[in-house]
Symmetry: C2
Subunit: 224 residues, 2 copies
């Protein structure tokens, strides 16, 4: 339960570089190692992650530097739940319904199989503005019975990433008429639909979802 040293160092360095300006050098790994009373390998692990996340960059044989803060890496495909003012409005929730062939296929199911599904549709708002509509299709067997009615837990995609892989496909489309009003969009506006599949480590898909993203309220950005 105790926090690993490299994480503490990571936080320590994070708080130290917040005071610094871009492109300023930080201490060398050996000095950090001495000051923070940890081995150089441990310090490096912390630094590696900060570089990976875009907060620092290295120049070989020269040093390690604070990255430009306006370009810290972001990936907005997954909503960060800690972000401000997220609100969810459940549009629909049901269990065990007639399932479309297209979704059967995404979940590697055939209509011969015995299965029970959960479907949830919700509208996501940020700061009161509609951002996207999400449709979830979840194979019930994979879910802890005690979470089935806790929507915030059940539908928190980040929670599954520890033990699963998330594969997302981005599809250009026109806003479906049934969701245009909820998203406050004219019909026929081009939007991006995300088709996501959550797959266990063992290779079994168990959640399929589609999200219809408001083109201006939900900016999709990927930094690498």
């Amino acid at each position: 339960m105790k926090k690993p040293v490299y994480l503490k160092i990571k936080e320590q360095i994070m708080s130290e570089i917040e005071e610094k300006s871009s492109n300023q050098a930080i201490e060398s790994e050996r000095k950090l190692s001495e000051r923070l009373k940890a081995s150089r390998m441990t310090v490096r692990r912390a630094l590696n992650e900060l570089v990976e996340e875009g907060y620092l960059y290295r120049e070989q044989n020269v040093g390690t530097f604070v990255a430009d803060k306006s370009h810290w890496k972001k990936n907005t495909l997954l909503a960060k739940p800690e972000a401000d003012n997220i609100e969810y409005r459940l549009i629909n929730f049901d269990v065990k319904y007639a399932i479309r062939d297209e979704i059967l296929e995404k979940l590697n199911l055939s209509d011969q199989d015995y299965f029970s599904m959960i479907r949830a549709i919700r509208l996501v708002l940020v700061n009161g503005k509609p951002q996207k509509v999400e449709e979830f299709h979840i194979i019930r067997d994979f879910i802890d019975e005690k979470n089935i009615n806790k929507f915030d837990v059940l539908l928190d995609v980040n929670r599954y990433l520890e033990t699963s892989t998330l594969s997302q496909r981005l599809v250009p489309t026109l806003v479906p008429p049934k969701y245009a009003a909820a998203l406050k969009l004219r019909i026929n506006e081009p939007i991006i639909k995300i088709e996501g599949t959550i797959i266990s480590n063992k290779g079994e898909p168990y959640i399929y979802f589609e999200s219809y993203n408001h083109p201006r309220e939900k900016i999709i950005e990927i930094t690498e």
Copy 2:
């Protein structure tokens, strides 16, 4: 110039797991370390990267396993140049032209600045089918003079990632009429436009590009 041990181990393990089936356990880190004559930390580094890339997964206190091969991680935002049958058709190339305000802005330039720009537009085909149209806008000062006429080098985005950050924004739009024919699309088809900015470690953007992606030939997939 010699290849690090952890990369050799990575390749070795990669070739070994190709023969294995999904969810099969591989040797423990200690055994690998012994067999491959490397320290456990070095073996772990190789394994870490393979896990990160989705080829393996671990279960704590149990072992390391081959991941489901159909779900190996992919990110198709960046074209892998080694992929099959990529063909580029240059549509336009010029230097020092009147630049749109919108692009000035993306590159943090003002029209007071002195600068010289390179613009290149090309059609990308895979297996003979049009996949996307790319428009590049490059600040000349940042480019090695000797590469200016080597389009394959100049426009290979992957090459810049060593020392720079790539920030991409995905925008739903309708296919621009001027590119509809080249992409073999009807006018008004919804497509995804990618707006990319390449930013040096020091925080200076120096390449801005837009790519117009064929919705069926260029599938955008992101796994995490």
